[in-house]
């Protein structure tokens, strides 16, 4: 793939196919007609499975829908988001998602998890990418080994780590105790102090390869004469890294970070399986799913889903803009 920036939208410039002005009209009319013919089935499916359900979710967030009888949903305005209930004696109380401490706890958990795990993954991914960029014997093997965590389904990784982190029989406690880091076994996934870290460790293990590969793709595009010039000039390797390499691979890192962040913000499966029913790790997606299907608060859960969608949509827009600017200005 020659796309300079992974995942960046192809610009119209890059995509312009050449046309012969003479034979243009009839031919291009035919091609135009078939373009829409080709696109319609795909667009219809997307509208059906993505567009319509999204609008439905947003609609449910303005109703009093309940799981038992979705058809009886009635419009209730913004009540799921915020509502002031006047008790009639001069006092009153705010209700709704915006005033729900559990929701804000979920927001905070999601933000914390995203910031910490993506930061660690970026640093480790960069280190792994730099190692894989050096030619050495057995590099192919190392690259293959690094891909393994990525290939393992999230649920399986969650279970594998849950077993390794088991408080009584887990190998992690055994390891840490035998080297003297821990004096007594800890319940990694259950105790409030470590549950979030357990989730972050598994996420870092699983997605660092993804980061490393995207950054490696950027590294391999740095022309080697840049390094040679620096070597001849006797510039210290550390300085070369910070002054030359890092600025050149910044677009690749940026794209990788945004992809990972978008993914981390909607995390569900890892947390649902590794630390079930734990308020310390409950994220926005878990909060929404619980309200939708376990607590019989379908409308409330829809409102939470809608808010999460808005957050991710905003970040996506920023990303699309950033990636475009880079493509226009970079080369």
């Amino acid at each position: 793939m020659t796309n300079a920036i992974p995942g960046a939208p192809p610009t119209d410039d890059a995509m312009r196919t050449e046309e012969q002005p003479a034979a243009r009209s009839a031919l291009s009319r035919q091609r135009l007609a078939s373009a829409w013919l080709f696109l319609t089935p795909m667009l219809a499916v997307l509208a059906f499975v993505a567009g319509w359900p999204l609008l439905q979710t947003i609609w449910f967030s303005f109703t009093d829908a309940s799981l038992a009888d979705l058809d009886a949903a009635r419009f209730v305005g913004l009540r799921n988001y915020f509502e002031y209930v006047d008790y009639g004696d001069g006092t009153g109380e705010w209700f709704g998602l915006f005033f729900d401490a559990q929701w804000w706890n979920a927001v905070w958990n999601t933000v914390y998890y995203t910031l910490v795990s993506v930061s660690i993954e970026t640093v480790l991914g960069l280190i792994v990418a730099l190692v894989l960029n050096v030619p050495f014997r057995g590099r192919g093997f190392v690259r293959a080994a690094v891909l393994i965590p990525w290939a393992i389904p999230t649920i399986v990784s969650a279970k594998m780590w849950a077993w390794m982190m088991n408080d009584q029989f887990g190998i992690l406690n055994d390891m840490l105790m035998s080297v003297g880091i821990l004096s007594h076994p800890i319940a990694w996934t259950a105790s409030p102090e470590t549950a979030m870290w357990a989730v972050i460790i598994v996420d870092v293990w699983k997605t660092t390869p993804f980061m490393a590969l995207l950054i490696l793709a950027g590294l391999q595009m740095v022309p080697s004469d840049v390094y040679e010039a620096a070597k001849i000039d006797g510039v210290h390797p550390v300085k070369v890294f910070f002054k030359v390499t890092l600025p050149l691979i910044r677009p690749a890192i940026l794209v990788a970070v945004i992809f990972r962040a978008l993914d981390a913000l909607r995390v569900f499966d890892l947390i649902y399986v590794l630390t079930p029913n734990n308020t310390e790790t409950k994220t926005m997606s878990v909060f929404a799913q619980e309200n939708l299907f376990q607590f019989d608060q379908f409308a409330y859960g829809s409102a939470a889903s809608t808010l999460l969608f808005l957050v991710i949509a905003a970040i996506t827009l920023v990303y699309i803009k950033a990636a475009r600017l880079n493509l226009g200005g970079g080369r």
Binding site: A50, F60, I152, F210, R266, S302
Partner: protein
């Protein structure tokens, strides 16, 4: 710093990376061959070789059915996505028309949708069409992430093919459908295999929709089945069986990923697929 110290440090780092990457799966395999009380003894090297857990998973119970369900869903989803994506990618990459840029951005945006945002609406749709608890609900739902991804990657791939390849066909008066089938398809096998494999992995691993739209043991897919594996009592988590099931569903994936490593890396960088 002397050269050998540097080299030793570098290789120590390499060993650390490899160990960190493969140890958890190695330990899962090791555990899957243990049964009875051996499970509750921490061993770093293989000591037991009991197939009891594999027998539990593959012979007793519904797990083989779960595997079959996952295979069916993933294959159908990939087939439909690729079929719809090839023609769409041709239109998006080789034909110029008004609104193409917006369309591409929309497709990219859909590929980043949080699944939870459509969950409530999809549930209503699934219920409306009477698809609850059937594999069709999952086939339908998985389109939301496989279709934008395949369209996106195939568009990038087709865009990079030279103009000349279709010029002759256009001059000969070939219809666009013929051009796609006769000119592009033969060139696209590598891209189709990579994209298909990545979409397959995504469908195979999906959890949220599978948990929500399917409720009976024999229609479940593999990830939900593993997540819900439980023992005779609440407290007794059957770790051996869980690890055996995990190994069974992961080994084929790892083999595929290792075979197609290089292609996967280029597919990943083109599409930025979610892990």
């Amino acid at each position: 710093m002397p050269a050998f110290v540097k080299r030793t440090a570098f290789y120590a780092l390499v060993v650390l990376i490899v160990l960190f990457s493969i140890f958890p799966f190695y330990y899962a395999i090791l555990t899957s061959f243990k049964s009875g009380t051996a499970l509750f003894r921490v061993d770093y090297l293989p000591t037991d070789f009991s197939l009891a857990n594999y027998r539990d998973v593959l012979v007793n119970g519904v797990f083989p059915l779960n595997i079959l369900n996952s295979v069916i869903v993933a294959f159908v989803v990939v087939a439909i996505s690729l079929f719809l994506a090839v023609t769409a990618a041709y239109a998006l990459s080789r034909i110029e028309f008004r609104g193409r840029g917006i369309l591409l951005l929309t497709i990219l945006a859909v590929s980043m949708f949080p699944q939870i945002a459509v969950l409530a609406g999809l549930f209503e749709l699934v219920r409306l069409f009477g698809l609850y608890n059937s594999l069709f609900s999952l086939i339908l739902a998985y389109m939301i992430f496989t279709l934008p991804f395949t369209v996106w990657v195939l568009t990038t791939f087709m865009r990079d093919l030279p103009v000349e390849i279709e010029e002759a066909a256009i001059v000969d008066g070939a219809k666009p459908m013929t051009i796609v089938m006769k000119v592009f398809l033969p060139l696209m096998w590598p891209a189709l295999v990579t994209t298909g494999l990545l979409a397959f992995i995504a469908a195979w691993n999906e959890f949220l929709f599978a948990l929500t739209f399917v409720s009976s043991n024999d229609t479940r897919t593999v990830p939900v089945a593993i997540a819900l594996l439980s023992g005779a009592s609440e407290q007794e988590i059957p770790w051996g069986t869980i690890m055996a099931a995990s190994v069974v569903v992961t080994v084929p994936l790892i083999v595929l990923v290792l075979i197609f490593q290089r292609k996967i890396v280029s597919g990943l960088t083109a599409g930025g697929v979610k892990g």
